[in-house]
Symmetry: C2
Subunit: 295 residues, 2 copies
């Protein structure tokens, strides 16, 4: 290595899709001299080591957490509290702890109290990922050109924040700072509602009688298919997101339902102008996404 | 050309996304000696000729329709009736007339009565297309590996059906025969509901105050983006689909709303097991789509 790595040891907690992809990125950019993992699943540990994602992986935090300069927690949001309590005795002052959870207020609430004094807790959320799960689903370059949202709490050490920012920027992410509450509201619209809708529509299809269901699969390219990818996302992860961002999600469901009812009524009464006007507005949003290079 | 083309002259009526892509496919496979187009929009006619999609394009059906062995009508479903009446005086016995409309019962109802005796009317629907419109959006190979649904009426001439089937198969489509009523029910689920939902969710986002809307665009990769592509589809085409497949669409909206309400309730009351179970079921559908090579 030409330069000193940013961290001596990085410990990945929960070696699933995000942390395993992060391991690939950290290796590629030589950001850690040593990569270790803690996971309660021995199979995940074995696969992570066999794939060369990390140097050591253990189901015992005492073996891998102490001495890590950075700990990245990539577990479902509902597991944060328990993981925080498990990690706490092994964390040493000066360590940076971050997470990859899709909800931020609940993580601050659940993980925050467990973090010992002197340990820098900086919640984060990479807007990246596929519908796949587990260490074997690691994707090279997953974070390139994607957003990394960090929601530092009041009084966060600026040097720790800068080091974590540098890490994400080095692996290709664009770092954005946000309030946890604002994060949860924005993501309820951009991510949680779309996933809930996708789960619903795919669920509606899966309740159809057998023959009709086969045809839905056969002719899925006509629109349905676009929804099935995100409805194949990890069930536990998504259960936890909805349970832990309840208020914001219920509010956007309400808005969505009102809007759907308005279109339903226009269809029932044959009000073509209302439909055409609404469908014309939505084209502009797609264009804005393409212009923002997020398409 | 080594062999005789399947048709001497093919006339494309409404030279938009589907018919212009069909023109490319017909040329590539030498399926017509002469390609002509009728469109009420002089700009579309000009572009279609300039791009070399067709040999002649005219806003006057008398100039292009007579003598065509195959007429393919690719206009919004709501325009079928008027187009049928316009074309009727120029159609000659033996000609095959087909369409590309996304609804089939309404097309049979609106177009059928206008077709003169001796002309073979075989309604069709290619399950293909992008969110783009107009002749300039022609896509090479658009129909390869996609389904072409034909909904022949009782008493359809078998030779005419076979010729039309051969045409679609030659350009790479898989041809499926179906009852118009069954087609409309299947497509209400696989295509019409997904589009309505996508239009709704993107519409919900476009009603947000300016700052929040900018953030929705910025962080759209988190799920929202998957919906915006289909919500950018042609507004008039989709207005007509909803107005002309009203019963089937209203029925699936009803099912969808019930299912969404059940999930909403589970979120409100913190019923994690219900959520996890539902989200696990939907993964199986995605897997089936991948297995059916429609992903």
């Amino acid at each position: 290595m030409s330069a000193e790595p940013l961290f001596e040891t990085v410990c990945l907690v929960g070696i699933g899709h995000i942390c395993s992809s992060l391991a690939l990125a950290l290796r590629r950019h030589s950001l850690a001299r040593r990569l270790v993992a803690f996971d309660i699943d021995p199979d995940a540990c074995r696969i992570a080591v066999e794939m060369g994602l990390v140097d050591i992986a253990s189901t015992d935090p005492a073996e891998v957490v102490p001495g890590a300069g950075l700990v990245v927690i990539g577990v479902p949001v509902g597991a944060m509290k328990g993981v925080g309590e498990t990690l706490a005795p092994h964390l040493t002052p000066g360590t940076i702890v971050t997470d990859t959870g899709s909800v931020k207020q609940a993580v601050v609430r659940d993980l925050g109290p467990a973090i010992p004094v002197g340990v820098h807790f900086i919640p984060g959320h990479p807007i990246a990922g596929t519908e796949f799960s587990g260490p074997a689903s690691a994707v090279e370059g997953l974070f390139i050109g994607r957003w990394q949202i960090l929601t530092p709490l009041p009084g966060t050490d600026p040097a720790a924040l800068e080091r974590l920012t540098t890490l994400w920027q080095t692996i290709g992410s664009n770092v954005e700072l946000m309030e946890p509450c604002h994060h949860d509201r924005v993501l309820a619209i951009t991510s949680h509602l779309p996933h809930l809708i996708a789960y619903t529509i795919v669920g509606t299809a899966s309740d159809l009688e057998g023959h009709l269901q086969q045809e839905v699969i056969k002719f899925s390219a006509s629109g349905f298919r676009d929804f099935t990818r995100i409805a194949a996302s990890d069930p536990v992860m998504w259960r936890d997101i909805f349970l832990n961002n309840r208020e914001a999600v219920l509010e956007v469901i309400q808005r969505f339902t009102e809007d759907l009812t308005a279109l339903q009524r226009a269809i029932r009464w044959g009000e073509g102008e209302i439909l055409q006007e609404k469908f014309t507005e939505t084209r502009a949003i797609r264009r804005a996404i393409i212009d923002a290079r997020q398409a």
